[in-house]
C-alpha cells in the first residue's frame, strides 16, 4: 500500500467536477477533499452497516476503502444490505461490494480482505489504514476490533443495531474512551438474541451506518465535534436520538492500565467455545423426512410449534402454537401420553423445549431437526422459508 509520501497530492479535473458540492463549501474545500482522497478507511463487514457506510464513503471521495468480509450474499440480506442487489445472490459480498463502489466512484481504491477478522490477521490488516469502522455482528469481533484499534492507535467508529434500536460512538481515540470502558465484558452467549433471531428493521442499519460514515468523514477532515466520549442511542420507532456521556475508565485493561498488550482469544472471552450447538444426532431427533412419513402413515403425532405468533403467520405446519417462553405456564395444554414432535424455525428453540419437557416428565418428545426451514428445503418447498 502507498506510504504517506506517495499519497495523492492533487485532484484531477474530473474529480474537481465530481466533488464540486464539497469543494464549494469552506468546511471541506480543496484541502478537505484532498484529505478524503488521501484517507484510508477500513470497513469491517460488508453487510447492514457496511453497506450505506461504504457507499457514502466512496461517493464522498475517500481514496482507499478496505473491506473485510467472508460471506456470500443471500436473499435475506437484500432487505437492508444495499451494497448488494438481487442478481448478486450467491456471490461473495466482497465482489459485489467492490462492483457497487466502482459503479458509484471508480476513483476509489478498494482493498478486499476475504477473511474472518481474527487475532492472527487483525493487526496486519489494520496497519495500512487510518480509521477502522466496525460494522460487525457479534461480540467477539467487536472486542477484537476495539482492542486492535487501541493497540494500533486507530479510531474505532462504532455502530451496532438491534431490531429498531441502534448505538453509535467513536472509540479508541487518543483522549477518548474505548468500547471496553463502556462494556468491560460481553454477555454470555444465549442471553441476548442475535439479529438472526431478533430481526432488524431494514432502514436501521441505514440510519446507523450513515452516522458512522459521517463520523469517519469528520475524523478525516478534522472538523466538527466527533462522537468521542458520547454514546448516541437511536430509536427508530419513536424516532428519538439520545446521547449519553462516556468516560475513559482509568482501570480499563485495554486503554487505561494497558494490561492488554496483545490480541487474545475473543471467542473464549465471549464464552463461545464449547457453546452448545443446535442439537443434531441426539436421541429424540426427528428428520423432516421421518415426520412426513409418519404423518402420511396416519400416526397419531401431536405437532407442537414453539415459535412466536407472528412467525406462525408467515408459515406453519398446522401445529399447536405455544411460544417457547410460555411453555412452562401452558404445559397443561399438552398430553404427556401422546407422542409429541416439537419444531421452531431452525431447531434451536425446539431443542430447548424438548429438553424442558423431558425434565418435566414427558417421555415421548422429538425435536424436528432443522425446523420448518428444513421441512421447506427437504419436504415441501411450498412452505416459505424466512
Amino acid at each position: 500500500m502507498a506510504s504517506i509520501a506517495e499519497r495523492p497530492a492533487a485532484l484531477t479535473n474530473d474529480e474537481i467536477l465530481r466533488y464540486s458540492r464539497h469543494l464549494i463549501m469552506p468546511e471541506v474545500g480543496m484541502e478537505g477533499q484532498l484529505k478524503l482522497k488521501q484517507a484510508r478507511v477500513l470497513c469491517v463487514g460488508a453487510g447492514g452497516l457496511g453497506s450505506p457506510l461504504a457507499l457514502y464513503l466512496a461517493a464522498a471521495g475517500v481514496g482507499t476503502l478496505g473491506i473485510v468480509d467472508f460471506d456470500v450474499v443471500d436473499f435475506t440480506n437484500l432487505q437492508r444490505q444495499i451494497l448488494h442487489s438481487t442478481a448478486d445472490v450467491g456471490r461473495k459480498k466482497l465482489d459485489s461490494a467492490a462492483e457497487s463502489i466502482a459503479g458509484i466512484n471508480p476513483n476509489v481504491d478498494v482493498r478486499k480482505f476475504e477473511a474472518r477478522l481474527t487475532s492472527d490477521n487483525a493487526l496486519d490488516i489494520f496497519r495500512d489504514f487510518d480509521i477502522v469502522v466496525d460494522g460487525t455482528d457479534n461480540f467477539a469481533t467487536r472486542y477484537l476490533v476495539n482492542d486492535a484499534c487501541v493497540l494500533t492507535g486507530k479510531p474505532n467508529v462504532y455502530g451496532s443495531i438491534f431490531r429498531f434500536e441502534g448505538q453509535a460512538s467513536v472509540f479508541a481515540t487518543q483522549e477518548g474512551p474505548c468500547y471496553r470502558c463502556l462494556y468491560p465484558e460481553p454477555p454470555p452467549p444465549g442471553l441476548v438474541p442475535s439479529c438472526a433471531e431478533g430481526g432488524v428493521l431494514g432502514i436501521l442499519p441505514g440510519l446507523v451506518g450513515i452516522i458512522q460514515a459521517t463520523e469517519a468523514i469528520k475524523l478525516i477532515l478534522g472538523s466538527g465535534e466527533p462522537l468521542v466520549g458520547r454514546l448516541l442511542l437511536v430509536d427508530a420507532l419513536s424516532m428519538r436520538f439520545r446521547e449519553l456521556k462516556l468516560r475513559k475508565n482509568p482501570d480499563c485493561p485495554a486503554c487505561g492500565t494497558r494490561t492488554i498488550t496483545k490480541l487474545i482469544d475473543y471467542e473464549q472471552f465471549c464464552g463461545i467455545r464449547g457453546e452448545e450447538k443446535p442439537a443434531t444426532g441426539n436421541i429424540g431427533d426427528m428428520t423432516p423426512e421421518e415426520l412426513k412419513e409418519r404423518l402420511d402413515r396416519g400416526d397419531n403425532l401431536f405437532v407442537l410449534d414453539v415459535r412466536e405468533p407472528h412467525e406462525y403467520q408467515i408459515c406453519n405446519l398446522g401445529g399447536h402454537l405455544i411460544p417457547l417462553k410460555e411453555l412452562p405456564q401452558r404445559m397443561g395444554e399438552l398430553d404427556p401420553a401422546r407422542e409429541i414432535v416439537v419444531h421452531c424455525k431452525m431447531g434451536g428453540r425446539s431443542a430447548k423445549a424438548v429438553e424442558f419437557l423431558k425434565q418435566q416428565g414427558f417421555t415421548n418428545v422429538h425435536n424436528l431437526v432443522g425446523g420448518i426451514n428444513a421441512w421447506s428445503d427437504r419436504v415441501d418447498p411450498k412452505v416459505p422459508k424466512y
Binding site: G45, D137, Q167, Y183, S194, C195, G198, L233, R247
Partner: protein, 91 residues
C-alpha cells in the same frame, strides 16, 4: 421517576418501553422495576447480585458508575436508562 427499557429487554417487562416507579435512589428504582418484572433480574444482575458488566445504568445522561452507583439519589423528574450492549450489524 421514569425508567427506559431497551428493546432487547422489553420482552421481560411485558413489552413496555418505559415504566414509572417511585424511588429515592437508583437502586430503589431498579428494585421497584424488578419486583413487578422479576424475569428481568437475571438480565441485569449476576448470581452475586452485581450489576452485569454488559449492562449500564444511566441517570439522565450520566453513567451511575461515575456517580454513586446504586446509591445515587434520584428526583421524580429524572430518567434512568438501562443500556445493554448490542452487537448486530453485519449479518
Amino acid at each position: 421517576m421514569k425508567i427506559l427499557i431497551p428493546t432487547p429487554l422489553r420482552q421481560f417487562a411485558a413489552g413496555q418501553s418505559a415504566v414509572e416507579v417511585p424511588a429515592g435512589t437508583v437502586g430503589e428504582a431498579v428494585q421497584a422495576l424488578l419486583s413487578s418484572h422479576p424475569e428481568l433480574r437475571r438480565h441485569l444482575y449476576n448470581d452475586q447480585g452485581k450489576l452485569r458488566a454488559f449492562v449500564n445504568l444511566y441517570l439522565n445522561e450520566d453513567d451511575v458508575r461515575y456517580l454513586q452507583h446504586e446509591q445515587t439519589p434520584v428526583a421524580d423528574s429524572d430518567t434512568l436508562s438501562i443500556v445493554p450492549s448490542i452487537a448486530g450489524g453485519r449479518g
